[in-house]
Symmetry: C2
Subunit: 274 residues, 2 copies
């Protein structure tokens, strides 16, 4: 397994560049390397919002919970992140975050950071028994959008339907994934990885209906040291839906290290048309 | 099944009273009827924060996603809810909410509301096959705190350990539940019901370690009409954990109507000590 250091030459780190503007404000830019059909890959936008907290001089501890709400597709170009510590306790801190373009809100978010202490710990959801990444062929498919090329994906279950014929399928997907080129994992890249799953409704319906995530929440179970240990290794991702109802469906996903540690659980609500 | 109208004599409606202060601000009060060990029942606080959005004259549609972050235990007495529409689109609206006491932030929240249209719909997580509420005895237990008396609970699985002996158990719970006295269900009461589950770590460890929810997200799958159809009926709740790690565990729960419709899915991150 390679162990690349976090590297400013990596497109993810380039995309996460933020210039401090003072008064809790940062300026960032959308990244052509992570362009989606309309606007940028939401996972990158989530990571950029989180970065506004993590790089803030007042930030206490590491993130434990992140919620981002996508209010509008970002236009290509600059944006501002406003990351305000609303409450600082002894070991937890509550942040309110907004991303704006031309004075308009394009994203709202909240972050909870915490200083974590070692306690009794246990995993209640074991990693599924699946073939190792090296025994799983890389899934090559058309990348109709640029950001998909930034991730290596090795599907185990529930990849793209072979035909968009409207024949209803399952609503679970499992795959090995990592940054491409590989990159050491940290909270920001984990926040982005949490959004890599392709829309479960496309699998369920075998129809590419228009979709867009409206809200995404990620809980971070791993510490910074545990993430560093993953280095450039693969992450097992499993996502499933519980309901598709009148224009919105939900998705719950879990991300494990190859060694079987649950790194994060993540949930999102996705708009769909028709 | 009884069908009580929403009634201002109900303690939940009394607790949700909000007085408009103008400029997106409301004044509310904590409710002795929903008192918890320290501060009020978090589900009620979440409902009060949501009410600041739903009663706002600019509110568009119904809630689809709610995230509340509990920054501090509320002191008994008045609080202010500031509910600001950060972005209004054609059919969705993004709200940033804060609750304050004496000028200090005690809760941050975001809400997404939407005008929903009828579309292709499907449930992907069927309601578990369990005995009907009428065949499930009501679970009586000591109510060490007042709010527990506000809910009727009929446990099917994973209720309180019979002994606090540290013998590790499961991390799943299932129960029928409803307001007590019964009350028609709406988005605010569903937001509160999403927090009724007792801490899974108490079941898992058979130890009553100190806990506190830090963040909770609820996705509403039902429309207002679908909720109204539930009337004062029972809700099946199922909650499970995926990881207990260094002071925080997560909980994912689903709430179905007795007729088997998934009304909401909800997730939270809970602090625990030791």
């Amino acid at each position: 397994m390679s162990n690349p250091p976090t590297d400013l030459a990596h497109p993810f780190d380039q995309a996460l560049a933020l210039e401090p503007l003072g008064d809790h404000r940062w300026q960032g830019h959308t990244s052509p390397a992570y362009a989606n059909m309309v606007g940028p890959f939401g996972g990158l936008t989530a990571a950029q919002a989180l970065a506004g907290v993590l790089r803030h001089s007042e930030c206490l501890g590491d993130p434990v919970a992140l919620t981002v709400n996508f209010a509008a597709a970002l236009a290509s170009g600059p944006f501002e992140v406003i990351a305000r510590p609303a409450r600082t306790n002894r070991s937890t801190q509550h942040w309110v975050v907004e991303m704006q373009q031309s004075g308009q809100t394009v994203l709202t978010a909240t972050v909870v950071t915490a200083v974590r202490r070692q306690t009794w710990s246990a995993d209640a959801l074991p990693m599924p028994k699946v073939p190792a990444p090296n025994d799983t062929p890389r899934t090559f498919r058309e990348a109709p959008v640029e950001w998909i090329k930034r991730y290596e994906m090795r599907f185990l279950e529930g990849h793209f339907p072979t035909a968009w014929d409207g024949r209803e399928g399952g609503s679970r997907t499992r795959l090995w994934l990592r940054d491409d080129p590989p990159r050491g994992i940290d909270f920001a890249s984990l926040a982005a990885l949490a959004d890599v799953f392709y829309p479960l409704i496309w699998q369920r319906r075998a129809l590419r209906v228009p979709i867009g995530t409206v809200s995404m929440t990620t809980y971070f179970h791993a510490t910074a040291a545990e993430l560093a240990a993953v280095a450039g290794g693969f992450i097992l991702g499993e996502a499933r839906a519980s309901a598709f109802r009148n224009g919105y469906f939900d998705q719950t996903a879990h991300l494990w290290s190859e060694a079987g540690a649950l790194l994060a659980s993540t949930h999102q609500l996705v708009y769909y048309k028709e």
